[in-house]
Amino acid sequence: MSKPRITIAVDIGGTFTDLEFRDTDTGAAHSLKSPTTPDNPARGLTDAIALAGERFGFTTADIALILHGTTIATNAVLTRDLPAGALITTEGFEDVLEIGRHARSDIYALRGPDRSILVPRRHRFGAPGRIGASGEVVREIDVSALDAMIERVVASGAKATAICLLNAYANPTQEIAIRDRLLARCPEMAVSCSHEVSPEIREFERTATTVLNALLVPVIARYVSALRTRLMDAQITAPVYLIQSNGGAISLDAAVQAPVKLLLSGPSGGVLAAQKLANALDTLDVVGVDMGGTSYDVAVVAGGERTVVTQGEIDGLPVRVPMVEMNTIGAGGGSIAFVDPSGRLQVGPRSAGAVPGPVCYNRGGTEPTVTDVNLILGRLDPATFLGGRFALDLDGARAALRDRIEEPLSLTPDHAASGILAVVNAKLAASIKFSLFAKGLDPRDFALMSFGGAGGLHAIEVAEELGMTQVIFPRDPSTFSAHGILFSDIQHDLSRTEILPLAAESLPALNAMADDLRTRGSALLDQDKMPEDKRILTLTADLRYRGQAFELMTAVPDGALTAETLAVLRTRFEEQHRQRFSFDDPKEAVELVTLRLTAIGVLGEADLPPVPYVPSESASVTHRPVHVDGAWFDTPVHRQLSLAAGSIVTGPAIIEQEYTTLLIPGRWLLTMTATGDMTARKQP
């Protein structure tokens, strides 16, 4: 029997399960889409694998590795389909989860905002004990009081319990003691401790993250168990890893303990793919944008690396684990255009969603959307939209635009329609600018990479708005996430918080922290059975000027920390500070807040040769009237799969892909590359 040679990436979305695989012997790669099976998504996964094996000639014994992006955790949070939970805190701090950080976003609202508090007050319990700010035990745990509290936890009916004690990031012993006692009494309970989930300072963010983790444990445990059963039935024995929010892979066992790390599993595949393609095209600074029906996700690849943040948010809930940096705004094909009470034209964030959808879907929508406007302006073709399966109501869209926008604002139809696109494109551009601005980066140094169903019609105009001169369209945007997942490596992120001056006196403590992190990181890679030559351990330090609230992640030079290392760190920190905030302060002391270790176990074989692209359709160009660059043109329409490598399309033009449409305005040239990806450049 030959050595297993097939690496499979699977991305399970709401409608389709996307699969891409590579044969590491031949370098051949293929992708396919098959329906998602919502009742048991694992079935859709094994079905897709069986289908790929049949179609492309491999057996389950040939499979070496399966990498799996999942939205199970995300969907459970969005629908609040979470088990009953309890929270154990230090006595006197049971309400930290509810109090949060106070600030509100709508400052003129008189009606209280909707707040989502995942564990009600009656299920939050105070534990007798106290850790001080430097990790000292201020008060020992009173065991009889603890036992009484545990009885109340059990009586609450909780299936999952989060433990988050004050200052536990500095000393976890009391959290461990409580967990052990709770598990002894109640072995079935899913228990998460804050010192494991998010061992960093700031109690509310740590509590909220630990609660979310605890509530997701039963959800992911159930899924992993179903997945294992399904794989066994299908006789698939290859190791399976899930994709985390940081873009790295994690074993199933580890994922069950840390499900909060899976919340951006889906989108992080797209970011990995953007990173991969940026490197393949040797365009190292790229903004990846994913535009769908209701939202627009922006991620940044700078210097060939995806940017990562240490804290994010899902559906208004803070999540403090490392994740790919993704800014989302509510703008997409379904965004509604309307005239507000002050007489101003607005587009979104209200969306028509899938139901009723845009007016042109003829499912009851009455307000014009971005998709309607694209149809009115000829940018979408009713004949080929979604493969022509779906008749679009152009007259209905026109009437809605007339009644709701043209007449109230006294605009011509063309002005109203192109104005709505200009407003939405300005919003998309602003969200990109804001993503880059926060890092002190200039859009003009970046290329835009567009994927997602609705992005192709907007990408170049958004790039123009930002002064960007290059736009990249991946060969197959519809399975882009799965493609990215194929290149994921195992990644464990570990951290330790201790506020220390960045000075020689801190070196012993810093080295002790670094050694501890390396030991723990190595142990995790041991569990993954990673060979030594496939391991990469890197340290970063979260640094700030003394007293600042925010830290900058600064790469730490390899090896033991010395006075020279500290000098390098200070220089790097100050460069970053200057870049982001336009000033530095050499007189001020720098302090470390958190030391981080990223432990990577290399899974994939990144240096496989690129898959050559061959057009699969014969050349054919049609024409249709399209409103572009402010006027109507009889515009050439190309089929993507008919363009040979090296061919050049001059704008204005339309390129139709299987699931999307690209708009190339005048003064832009689109080139089909040897890999089937397309790059558009602005002519000087």
Partner: protein, 542 residues
């Protein structure tokens, strides 16, 4: 109304707001003090060339709606606008030059293109200390503004792009935490620069004339929306009042009276009948009063367009000179938030008579500012400044949220772990106060308890609290929220302290406890849904 292209209007409007947001992010991420970086006690805004506020970042209503008055005051009485030069930053903290109280430094930077002023950027920061009789700037015993700290008239702190180091050194010499002050101030200047550069990019892109025209149209649109909302209300005069507690020097609550008159699309607020100005520092200057009125009227009108100075046009404010809401120089004003909140709640209470379905009962209606002047055993000194808030008033349609920023201000709390890592305090409790929300068909939100043990060699506790006796009102038969408290436990003996406490000596082991007010209830408590009553009981909210 001028009518520039509606598409360009939207694009530029969004761009202007994002300039203010970029400035806000710059302050947030670079400032030093916990006041700014955790409490978020700052605001940023953009003005057009004529000094009209065209865009705000969503931060503190109290700041945002006072900036334009301050700018006008400076231009009218100190430095005329046509004497503002490229490369300058003009700053003041003087309540009698258009400011509110001394810790708030308001800095303006004119933006020039080809020798022409095209915009002004503004950053207001609450600085951690300004010298004076009490750490943190809240000298409860002050009877003159001179005792409240350093007073800076409008001056050019930056000329030709260079910090005026001698002036800056003079300021730093007069504050208790010069390093922190310096860091926050540099962050303030950096944000002004970020905003100025962004405005220049907009001017390059759209042209100076177009920016000017669009700025004017944005103001017109905001005014139009306000007038539409006011027009829909029945004409008439609606009278309401609210109270602040005594000033800590003289006993007795002080009345704030307002007569709200709607006539067509105009609205007038007359504070005749309000108490005379106080001896102690609970006075407001017109900047505070107007700003509180603007906040309340904009909120009550439910404005959805971008808030800007156009919203102010239908509003007239009349306040008797020498009263609590229009104090004469040199009355002390450090606790101006206390009347400020109650001006807002009084105006909202008047609105409740015409908008009974929209106006909630009173929120906590105060700011629980407190500071400790700490001396450690090694002689090191530190100032711990913090702030707390309470529960929302119940809305006709829902309970008030517990412990959440409301009304006239907005801010974050400081993580307890961050406080303990930096200051010699150990918290014993941070939580909600059961029973503090006013009963009603809809319940008021709960107030907050903070309790900590003092660990250092010695310390002096200062507080600038209110609403101990003057409770957040209920509406339509709802009960008021419970008032605030402050106490110290020493050797097992609890001593209640005054809302305005100055220099209370702390020893190691002393436990300081403060409870903030809950919000008022709405509607008859007897009509509360039985399931909601049971939930409240199960959660220990009552």
């Amino acid at each position: 109304m001028m009518r520039p292209d509606p598409v360009l209007l939207e694009i530029v409007s969004a761009a202007l707001v994002s300039v203010a947001e970029e400035m806000s992010v710059t302050v947030w991420r670079t400032s030093r003090s916990t006041t700014v970086r955790e409490l978020l006690d700052y605001s940023t805004a953009v003005f057009d060339a004529k000094g009209r506020n065209v865009a705000q970042a969503a931060r503190m209503p109290v700041h945002l709606n006072s900036m334009e008055l301050c700018l006008h005051h400076i231009a009218a009485h100190h430095i005329p606008l046509d004497e503002w030069r490229d490369g300058e930053v003009i700053v003041t903290n003087d309540p009698y030059c258009g400011g509110q109280h001394l810790p708030d430094f308001i800095a303006f930077k004119p933006v020039f293109k080809d020798g022409q002023r095209i915009a002004i950027t503004c950053v207001l920061i609450h600085h951690v200390d300004v010298g004076g009789g009490a750490a943190g700037g809240y000298n409860a015993k002050a009877v003159e503004v001179f005792q409240e700290g350093l007073r800076l008239p409008p001056v050019r702190i930056v000329r030709d792009g260079k910090m005026q180091e001698d002036l800056f050194a003079t300021i730093l010499q007069n504050v208790r935490e010069p390093e922190t002050f310096r860091g926050d101030f540099l962050s303030q200047i950096a944000a002004l620069d970020v905003g100025a550069r962004a405005m220049l990019r907009l001017a390059d892109r759209y042209g100076v004339d177009a920016l000017d025209e669009i700025g004017a149209a944005l103001l017109d649109h905001a005014e139009h929306e306000m007038r539409n909302a006011l027009e829909a209300l029945p004409d008439g005069t609606y009278i309401a009042e609210d109270f602040v507690d005594g000033d800590g020097i003289e006993e007795g609550a002080k009345r704030i009276s307002v007569a709200l008159t709607i006539k067509g699309s105009d609205i007038a607020l007359d504070f005749t009948g309000t108490a005379a100005q106080a001896k102690g520092p609970i006075n407001a200057t017109m900047a505070t009063t107007t700003s509180a009125v603007y906040y309340a009227v904009i909120a009550a009108c439910g404005v959805t367009a971008t808030v800007n100075a156009g919203c102010y046009r239908p509003i007239t404010v009349t306040a008797p000179e020498g009263s609590l809401v229009n104090a004469n120089f040199p009355a002390p004003v450090s606790m101006r938030m206390l009347p400020g909140h109650k001006i807002a709640t009084a105006v909202l209470r008047a609105f409740a008579q015409v908008l009974p379905d929209r106006i909630p009962a009173s929120y906590y209606g105060t700011t629980f500012n407190h500071a400790v002047n700490i001396r450690r055993a090694d002689g090191r000194r530190q100032v711990y400044f913090d702030s707390e808030l309470g529960g929302w008033g119940a809305h006709p349609e829902r309970d008030g949220p517990n412990g959440l920023a409301a009304g006239f201000h907005n801010g974050q709390n400081t993580p307890i772990e961050m406080i303990e890592a930096l200051f010699p305090l150990r918290f014993t409790s941070y939580g909600l106060v059961p029973g503090s929300g006013g009963a009603g068909r809809m319940r008021g939100g709960l107030g907050i308890v903070r309790e900590w043990e003092f660990l250092a060699e010695s310390g002096l506790l200062n507080s600038a609290f209110d609403a101990f006796d003057s409770l957040p009102y209920g509406l339509d038969g709802g009960q008021p929220g419970r008032g605030g408290t402050l106490s110290v436990v020493r050797d097992g003996v609890t001593t209640a302290l005054a809302a305005k406490t100055i220099g209370h000596a702390l020893r190691p082991g002393d436990i300081v406890r403060m409870e903030t007010p809950g919000g008022g209830g709405h509607g008859d408590p007897g009509l509360r849904d039985a399931a909601a009553v049971a939930e409240d009981k199960a959660d220990g909210y009552v």
